[in-house]
Symmetry: C2
Amino acid sequence: MARTSPFGLLVLFVGLALSNGVLALWPIPRNLTTGSTALKLSPAFTIQVDVPNAPSDLYDAVGQAKQYLENDKLGRLVVGRGANDTTAVQGAKTISTLTLSLEEGATVNSITDEARAKFEDRSEEYQLTIPDDGSAATLVANSTLGLYRGLTTFGQIWYTYGADTYTLEAPFDITDSPAYPYRGLGLDTSRNYFPVQSILRTLDAMSWVKINTFHWHITDSQSWPLEVAEYPELAQYGAYSAQDVYTEQDIQQILSYAGARGIDVLLEIDTPGHTAIIGTAYPEYVACMTESPWSTYANEPPAGQLRFPLPEVRNFTTNLLASIAKTMPSYYFSTGGDELNLPCYTDDPITSGYLNSTGTTINDALDEFTNSTHSALIGLGKTPVVWEEMVLDFNLTSLSDETIVMTWISSADAAAIADKGFRIVQAPSNYFYLDCGAGEWIGDDPAGNSWCDPFKTWQYAYTYDPLANLTTAQQSLVLGGEQILWTEQSGPENLEPIVWPRAAASAEIFWSAAQPGGAPLNGTEALPRLQDVRYRMVQRGLNPIQLQPQWCALRPYECDLYA
Amino acid sequence: MARTSPFGLLVLFVGLALSNGVLALWPIPRNLTTGSTALKLSPAFTIQVDVPNAPSDLYDAVGQAKQYLENDKLGRLVVGRGANDTTAVQGAKTISTLTLSLEEGATVNSITDEARAKFEDRSEEYQLTIPDDGSAATLVANSTLGLYRGLTTFGQIWYTYGADTYTLEAPFDITDSPAYPYRGLGLDTSRNYFPVQSILRTLDAMSWVKINTFHWHITDSQSWPLEVAEYPELAQYGAYSAQDVYTEQDIQQILSYAGARGIDVLLEIDTPGHTAIIGTAYPEYVACMTESPWSTYANEPPAGQLRFPLPEVRNFTTNLLASIAKTMPSYYFSTGGDELNLPCYTDDPITSGYLNSTGTTINDALDEFTNSTHSALIGLGKTPVVWEEMVLDFNLTSLSDETIVMTWISSADAAAIADKGFRIVQAPSNYFYLDCGAGEWIGDDPAGNSWCDPFKTWQYAYTYDPLANLTTAQQSLVLGGEQILWTEQSGPENLEPIVWPRAAASAEIFWSAAQPGGAPLNGTEALPRLQDVRYRMVQRGLNPIQLQPQWCALRPYECDLYA
């Protein structure tokens, strides 16, 4: 009985067809040439830091890069996982060194400081050359942050079979820099709490695909997990438990871990809506908390919003935001501003009484509130970030021109924001919300579905065009974008599989913007590379979801619709 | 500034309203009375086995039950997690002993043997009495399996706050037995492989909600992870790797672990469709393997089906199934039979040539094939199980009246199966498929959605009526049912959150069938109990998904639609 495998033959063919491809790289470098020569990584491979007064976080990054090189041990995603590569690898040269250096005249800062610089002051550019003759590879950049990005790329090209770690695509010549300065991932830690370790693992995974901003929606109506030195009652009464709190020490650990991975932390304290939990500590500052049904006063339970027109609430919120913002190293700080429920104020005697007695409209009160909070932030050197309603649903003269606006309701809303001249971060729910499609979580509603059905697959997210409907002049307003996880139905138990590898989709959209030759990004081309990302994540201990049966992962394109 | 919490007051009210409830129990016992007296569990609590010649797996179960009692440390799901219970607990009596015994005349078998008995020979009934005066609790059953179920119930009523483990609902008087003999969970280990440890954890979780059948869809077209002594080539060529194989030792470990937890293993070797991978070892036995597009010949890639009309393939399959079945202790064995693609045979010259030359119809060939495989299984003492197409799409005289038929395409199909007189296991995709709603996984199809959108939430699954559209006479044909995970987009990385606690929905439908007083099951009533299940699972180290923000979990009914 013959036992040759038709599948094996097929794969060999596909393998050849792809041998000049770039299966491993994500986000795909913007300028890239590869070859088809096998090259082995020396077991004694070293990374030399040729940077005068190199900062300690660069040495840490080099140490981490070496650990990945040693421990990834990723088998190539073909049937046999590289068993057929042994012949090619046998005669290959061995590379022993990668040398890191900065371009002449570059200032030496820590990766952390570079990652926290203003968008316009950041350089993530790098140049990576890997010869196929065994001579040293070189990585050159304008900044330690650029070197960090290049190290990440270097770590993506190697496979292991048996005792060999190798690439089949040497030589490499890469000149790379991001198309957009903001490439984020959003996480809500209020609906459900995530331990510090979960966040650190998320930061690791973000760094692997060059995401540079952790948009931390840290508080909301459900819980207040943030320790604030001047307002200890908020966490004391508003956290789910004494353990479900990010202490000052936790925050510092997360900031430091993020910075070392080239990630800025954009903290969001959502106001004046999404603040019911503040009422557990300050009941007189919050309206509609005990009203029923909740659905009249909020999009989800619990209802409750700051009585922001009241001077004492405005002052409290301003002091609170300033108190938090001054502990955050980023130049950017979000005050939220989504889903403000107006019937809550109409029906709240205290708020409506104040508005009536002072002859103030809700819009003017919001303008005054925003002026107060944003002025305080700007005074601390921060650039405010807000959700789209703040510019589309209200007329706020208080918003600085520098304000950054995040889209969420629809990808169609960016144009209207651009018409008002604001800079934009794209987080449209209809492409980028990672929680969509999980069904109804509200009780007593068995036939209900997710409000943003269906599930946003990686390949659908990947079709998103961040410049759609914008004029050429408006396109420069787009700073970038992010996928985001709202956590009504998520916790540490499912964080990794619900986020990864999907969140890599926007990472590539906003870094690469196009294929190296200039062709548009294409999900069919991208899938084998994303599988590579996923399987490498598994090797690094993460729990990314399976995108397909492994049969498909080992046979690029054979599970495509018309294959 | 006053800092009393309106939420705290609300919760106190709700807590009182529920104090006579049964928040902790799942599936809800069929006959149940509870009180409102606090009762403490002694730190020196012991479980006495008053069973002559008790089997070792009963002692193991007692040891496990004690471990849960000691380690669960679940805080009650109210704001404060039980802080307000301290007064009630202070004066409570302490219970020190639970005594297990069998009813007079009961035969003493191992839990394992009882779990593997024929449906009609199993007794899962138990009687559990927990007085509120500190005297010993008693658990009595007809079988060690019944004692195991009662131990599981006993483990669900305790909460921990500080140093105290307690219930607030003593005394308990429970007489319980399942409404249906088959309460399953299905898992596909072919699309993606699951390590033995993942399966063992799944069996643990199943046992916590009294699921008694692990429906193991072990092979399919994508991979053959099963070591078969007589046919080693199948795993050698068909497993994803040498590591992704269930060895004979693995199978024995899983069978033993399942048995000790009151779980029978229903193995499925899906034939004659869903068998492409057999072609890697036996290419001459499989049609359509290299045809393109795959979508003409299969519902998903890869195409490829056994050439079942050929005598040599019929004999091979019969021997293969018998070879596997004889190693399995269950009385039940599934030969699958879903989604047979007929164009594959029409277009395959070998199969169509054989059919033409012998003047055989595909239906008659399938009848002959089924007669061969099922006769072999019946000869081994097995009862065959098949998917619904085998009785609804074909006219197979070879099916024994004893055959058990699993629904899957639609909940509407049970009536037609019942009309033919077959016993039924309900696994309708439109209620019970755990993989639905995750979006398209086929490549090059960015706008595609899940074929069985939307996501089946626990609360939707929970509305399923297993007797719908059946006559009274037909109702006894329903053996039970199961939720099932097909793993195109799942692996060990997301197994626990995608299955749990959702799979508890069918566990209660098929154990309890109704509320203790006879009222229909009701998702609004059930949600707080399911939250309890979920949070206890977390305490036991599982990773069940969050069903709601924890704010809701701590405040029963406040996140209901009209709350």
